[in-house]
Symmetry: C2
Subunit: 253 residues, 2 copies
């Protein structure tokens, strides 16, 4: 928990450095050992968890702000970060205001104002992330989607909206680069889709559809060492993958 | 063009009434006589056009602000309005600042600050709209997508991003309610898709795919009066349509 002096310093600096009324929250998804994970921070003030977030510097483009915030919490940059929704309920951060009201007079409390938060989601390489707490958290770590803690503020809604968006976007955008290893089998890719959608998919339909998108390269090698017939390995065709991110998958009109 | 006094009054009121740094811009699409249109305003200050927009009141949810702004310019409400992107380049409204700099000292100029704009798009009933200029425009009218004027600020980018989003969303969301009459033929619906996508579609594929989505009711009556065999009429199945808006069209995983 921060001392009164530390809070005062934080808020004085924040008022100078950041735009009023605008915040950014990031839903960072990773995939590890067949489980979908989300990066969260545990408040050092209460038994509640929140999403990585922050503010926009006075002269900073919002995309740069999102990149910076993500890098501060994960150590990685140049990540596929995508805006998915703005959260603009006037009371969305009232709880947060209450939390510090005994600590500081409201006029010097940067958090007391209304914040409209721009939601970004990211799909990242689980292995490459070095989770790092911020000034208001004691823990930053991956949480399993099947075992989520209590969320602070409206962060449960932000998380759920990101997941819904991701599920919808599976239908028209490629996914998997950053989440999968460089080379993978079709069943491994199918497992990623099944984990995100939280349902089983038909093996043959999945394979036919994925190959139809034209975003995979079938490699010469097969996966060695299993008891079964060695499965083929694939990698993403990055040119086609990038084009499909922009224009949608080939199943379109 | 507003007088200095009118500008002073506008800006003094705006500083009291609205949140700093946040604006909303709306890309309002309508469809009429086989043409796709967008609602625009002509500046009373220069030969340039802009999109309907405005600001968020101090205690107003952002969705309500977007509804209010749209109603002020069109007279209609309860429209399908969808957030599609936030525009947060720090220099995006510098041109606008310059325009009024001789009129007012910068500290009383509400427009002088940085604005991060939340983009919404709407698909509306062309016939029901009563285009109404705002304080900074002399004309509010529909412009044909094939004949667009010069845009102010970054509004060309906002418009293009909305159109790209709409085209991508055709692949996984239903469209047409609010744009089509209550009853329509399959070729009329196809014409809407072709206009938005700016390309011809195959008649049989279109029909098969549209029917596969399960969002159309085939009516008992046919369209009378043509030289050809009278085509079937359809209407939208609103329950399935709403569900598909939320969950994506049935072509999904």
């Amino acid at each position: 928990m921060l001392t009164k002096e530390e809070l005062e310093r934080f808020w004085a600096e924040a008022s100078e450095k950041y735009l009023d009324h605008i915040s950014i929250d990031c839903v960072v998804f990773g995939f590890h050992e067949g489980q979908m994970k989300v990066l969260m921070l545990k408040s050092n003030n209460e038994e509640a968890w929140y999403l990585p977030g922050g503010f926009v510097q006075v002269q900073e483009p919002i995309e740069k702000a999102a990149d910076r915030i993500l890098k501060e919490r994960t150590g990685i940059d140049e990540v596929f970060l995508q805006q998915f929704r703005v959260f603009g309920d006037p009371d969305r951060n009232k709880i947060h205001n209450e939390m510090y009201k005994d600590k500081l007079p409201s006029k010097t409390n940067f958090f007391e104002q209304r914040f409209i938060s721009i939601g970004y989601y990211a799909l990242v390489d689980f292995i490459g992330v070095n989770p790092t707490p911020d000034a208001f958290s004691e823990i930053c770590t991956w949480r399993d989607l099947a075992d989520l803690p209590n969320f602070q503020l409206d962060h449960e809604n932000i998380f759920k909206t990101a997941l819904d968006t991701l599920r919808l976007q599976l239908n028209y955008q490629p996914i998997g680069y950053n989440l999968m290893p460089k080379e993978f089998t079709m069943p491994e890719l199918q497992k990623l889709y099944e984990t995100i959608l939280d349902k089983k998919l038909d093996r043959r339909n999945f394979q036919r559809r994925m190959l139809g998108f034209g975003i995979l390269n079938k490699l010469e090698q097969t996966r060695k060492g299993g008891a079964h017939k060695a499965p083929y390995l694939y990698s993403f065709d990055l040119d086609n993958y990038q084009a499909a991110l922009k224009e949608g998958l080939k199943s379109g009109w």
